[in-house]
Symmetry: C2
Subunit: 333 residues, 2 copies
DNA sequence: AGTCAAAATGGTTGCGCAATCATTGCTGTT
DNA sequence: AACAGCAATGATTGCGCAACCATTTTGACT
């Protein structure tokens, strides 16, 4: 076969009509066993592959799920993606994945591009979409779900947890442990990091006894190495008064831990360290790092379920879902 | 607009013909400045988004790049993906990403599914495709590139490096350092891990002086924790004779390092540790871990370039590309 | 055997767009 | 002023498939 075979070619080989072949592909139960096996053999023999564009156009079903995440390199979104792919596998869907690099404008462009594929649903991260992006999403008339964080004005569905509250709790944990000069180390400063910072500030404000606090942030992307640099910076800045660092994620926390060893600071005696996201390494380093865990892959899985169980097809088909979080206390605090 | 707007709706609003709108979208230079701005305004006003299925069907161009990786959770493929996304961004392509979970059969199914989207090129990982998958890829008549490793019978294009040779070199490094009882710790045992094991074995065989060696592998997925367990296992198995461990990747190596501390083994005095892939953490732990680095994201970027610079459209449009590797010697050996 | 309902199969059509060809308008040249 | 030559725009058509409706076959029952 020099040119790509189509339905008719298969039909000819199998000695049936084109529509019968189509049925074998979309709903085999509607074709008799005899014809079905003939058709399946023909398909396999000539290596026929259905033309998705034509199929999508005729059926108005694309079999595509659009997903937009802020970063491919952040392992956190990987976990979510895994949950998404797991759920999608049982559903005969393909995933179109976009990386918007934490930029709402890039996200807007991506949304437009991905919507052109007529996805049957779309997963976006966070709630910082531009107005135009929101308009496009609403108009697309497909289920939309915002994941990772909770928002008061969801576009449609929403699943996540409160980064603010988790951070508030974690800061309280430090204060309860007796640390009175905690620092918040933040990188990237995307919306969720900012919520974490807000939770930190509020917890300090709400604490009944006086305590000092330090905040050191940068818009640089997060990394282990940066964690070490931020630790140095805040220690210098605070004139060695800082006695605990709350890192906005575990990468920074790991970097801070490694750096503290180089600086001959004992953790948690000289300085406590805690992070966010509970990466595998955090539990295995010495001392193990206190962190906030959340069911990321479960959240991805559930997001897909919610998208496609929304029978009503109306907006807000399901109430926002709070997947919660856990403060995992370890020896670093 | 109750139903999704189409080209005609835009045309009506802009007071032009449908085809003119189409041209604004595909090649604005072919439309006069005056009409173009009218059309663009109409598009934005009614929030029109082109129907990709129809466009793909009519133009026989899908604007899609298919990518299959063996695992979403392995950070190594993340790096490659980043390179791919970076290169793709400049090319108006969307990425359809599949995760075949290290299974050639799942990969075959994925290839069939992804090919149905008429991608303009496809990136697959490794060279262990099934015969039927190879047939489908050849028949699809699109550029195909196998990445990560080098193969003698590429389907079409190929970019990667020799895991066998890298492992051979690393093992020699250990032997040259004076270690005479190295162990190979392997997880997952996918084709590339097996090539690394083969390189290890050959280096041991080729070494002029007698030396003992140990091999401990499992098909379990790799993790930091598993690295610790494998270290324990090989130390017990070797009756404490083993003096160096070559971990098939840096996750295992980190786990082995953390575990060695718990076992009160000094690295590299009591035991040397080296890994593969050169993750960020490997350079920052204490002692820093010797590893094999390779230009992963560059490989992804280049794969995309190769796919779409293949003007000839024939098979083997470009010679296989060896991106090479580097043994990064650090204090763990 | 005859009847009828249900299952299996086929023919026709349109999805929304871009390729192709056709037409119109516009500029510069003599 | 006449015309060539090109740029800009429009009309028609078909991409490959599945929805829809029509027809044929099967099988259960009297």
């Amino acid at each position: 076969m020099s040119t790509k075979p189509n339905l008719k070619d298969v039909a000819k080989v199998a000695g049936v009509s084109a529509i019968t072949v189509s049925r074998v592909l979309t709903d085999p139960s509607r074709v008799s066993e005899k014809l079905r096996s003939k058709v399946e053999k023909a398909i396999h023999d000539i290596g026929y592959i259905r033309n998705h564009a034509a199929s999508a156009l005729a059926s108005k079903k694309s079999g595509v799920l659009a997903v937009i995440i802020p970063s491919l390199s952040n392992i956190v979104f990987n976990d979510v993606l895994q949950g998404i792919y797991q759920a999608v596998k049982a559903k005969n869907l393909q995933v179109l994945l976009g990386d918007c690099h934490y930029s709402p404008l890039e996200e807007e462009k991506l949304i437009a591009t991905l919507l052109s594929q007529s996805p049957e649903g779309i997963i976006v991260t966070g709630a910082a979409q531009t107005d135009y992006a929101r308009k496009l999403l609403l108009q697309a008339d497909i289920p939309v779900i915002q994941i990772m964080e909770l928002t008061h004005q969801p576009i449609d569905m929403n699943i996540g947890f409160s980064h603010y509250q988790a951070s508030y709790d974690m800061t309280n944990h430090l204060l309860q442990r007796g640390y009175r000069a905690p620092a918040f180390l933040g990188a990237r400063m995307d919306p969720r990091t900012q919520q974490r910072l807000a939770g930190f500030k509020q917890a300090i404000t709400d604490w009944p006894q006086p305590c000092s606090s330090y905040i050191h942030t940068t818009v640089q992307p997060s990394s282990i190495k940066l964690g070490g640099q931020l630790l140095q910076a805040v220690i210098a800045e605070s004139n060695h008064q800082c006695d605990a660092v709350f890192c906005c994620n575990d990468d920074l926390a790991l970097g801070a831990l490694f750096e503290s060893k180089r600086m001959n600071l004992s953790v948690p005696k000289d300085i406590a360290i805690c992070g966010f996201n509970d990466l595998e390494a955090s539990a295995l380093v010495e001392p193990a790092i206190t962190s906030v865990s959340s069911p990321r892959s479960e959240m991805g899985r559930q997001a897909v379920e919610m998208l496609f169980s929304a029978t009503g097809k109306g907006r807000h088909a399901l109430a926002p879902v709070d997947v919660g979080y856990n403060i995992i206390v370890r020896s670093s605090t």
